[in-house]
Symmetry: C3
Subunit: 205 residues, 3 copies
């Protein structure tokens, strides 16, 4: 088992838990909770695989993803009372998932020989599309368009990955370092309430 594969399973579990938490917050039934967990966990990778033509999608060919999501959903449901400060828990899992999946997606783009900008876009999409789908299914405007700087952290991490993978020979180290960069940038951004500049000077439009 490579660090790559292990990170993918960790990201899947983290995103499944973040999805399950949102679904329970919307008071969905257990099946709804599982579906939202599932979509949040595999949504980004599925979109990446569809757009690049890597079909059938990976989670249909490796049943471990399904087991990871089922396990994560059950654990989240069981421990829902311990996760009472759910917004912080949700944020933590979401951030881990975003960090892992950004590097996963960028790596796949690089291996497939796409333009660096496309590889960065694939990384960002892998990280963010699951959450976008989760929000659309829950009838919210996707959080990524509204708050914080999810995507900037992904893009910085993806660019760092593109640079480091040419310089550092230990590929597992590059995965872990750049994943941590995405996570740290995002945590710092939230801590310092950094956000992108607004450009709306007039009050209404």
């Amino acid at each position: 088992m490579t660090a790559f594969y292990l990170l993918d399973i960790i990201g899947t579990i983290a995103f499944a838990m973040s999805g399950a938490l949102v679904a329970m917050n919307k008071r969905m039934d257990p099946f709804g909770v599982f579906i939202i967990a599932f979509v949040t966990a595999v949504g980004g990778g599925t979109m990446r695989d569809i757009l690049t033509g890597r079909l059938p999608v990976i989670w249909m060919q490796d049943i471990n993803y399904i087991y990871a999501i089922i396990g994560a959903t059950i654990i989240t449901i069981i421990f829902r009372k311990k996760l009472r400060f759910w917004s912080k828990t949700f944020f933590l899992f979401d951030t881990i998932g975003i960090g892992v999946f950004t590097i996963m997606g960028t790596e796949i783009g690089v291996k497939a020989g796409f333009h660096p900008m496309i590889s960065i876009a694939l990384g960002t999409m892998t990280a963010c599309f699951g959450g976008v789908t989760r929000d659309i299914l829950c009838n919210d405007i996707p959080i990524i368009f509204r708050k914080e700087i999810y995507a900037i952290a992904c893009i910085i991490g993806a660019i760092t990955f593109l640079i480091l993978q040419n310089l550092v020979s230990n590929v597992n180290l590059v995965y872990i370092e750049t994943t941590l960069i995405v996570i740290i940038v995002r945590l710092l951004a939230v801590y310092f309430k950094f956000s992108l500049p607004a450009f709306y000077s007039n009050t209404t439009s």
Copy 2:
């Protein structure tokens, strides 16, 4: 013409009518009604075909699906006044479509050699994704996440199919039996107001 193909067309017509009824209830114009009917009818199968890489999708290669949807939409528009108790009519068509498409999708998963859990997921997805897309396009939280036990009926039917297809030699009989199982489970579930257990003891979260 096989029972398989015939069931597929029947499911397509049933889902197209259910979609057209929802769209008319939302007071959409005739084009909007057709699109919602179309998406409801082919959405699940299209998602299944994309994820498994069976492209171009089937309704692009067999024009009969388009004719079936156009016909179903026109009939629904013409007889909309006779369908005045539309919620029951909608429910009936929706249930038939769900029964047929569950078995269709599961069969395709089995034939393609996927893990039984993936085959069950493909069946459930084929049955449910059209309705999910319909609800998203109409800006509702998908009904499947909120009410009744749509998916449980699909999963029971899909499991029964997986068991019976190894035991019963007459494959057409298996199709029809398991389709009826999905329909009957769903009707019973609604009749007895059975729903999944809630696990929200605290009032707000």
Copy 3:
């Protein structure tokens, strides 16, 4: 560079600007504006390519699409004050994009040997799906299901294209003529407030 390719880039720019205008109207941050611009610009073509199995999608293989969208987004952001009568500007760009993409999609369907009805559907989908995705991401009921006759203009243009391409030898001329037909039909439809017949005689349902 063919007229086909040039039209595609023009349509991409027009749709990116229309998407950016909607996103700025929703007061999204710069990243959200870019994503909505991107999705609006490539959404229709991406859906067309996925359904027909033309993967990886075209904008992953030709970086010019990304440059066009980035440029269009930046220009829209810079000149947002000059575009203060944004609804008319939005409408104009949207109409140009719809005209161009209808003919693009229909042409691809014809070349791939699909049934004429499927080719028309591909054209209409290429033109309309980006806007549908934009509206779903912004949590609106897609405008296409509610107002004006977007799709009728597309269908008329696509049918004209199917007829003319057999009669006229200058293929660039056919592209431009039929693109203009879509644009003119849509402008006339809005000018004369033409809309599809309603069939809701009862007040509520």
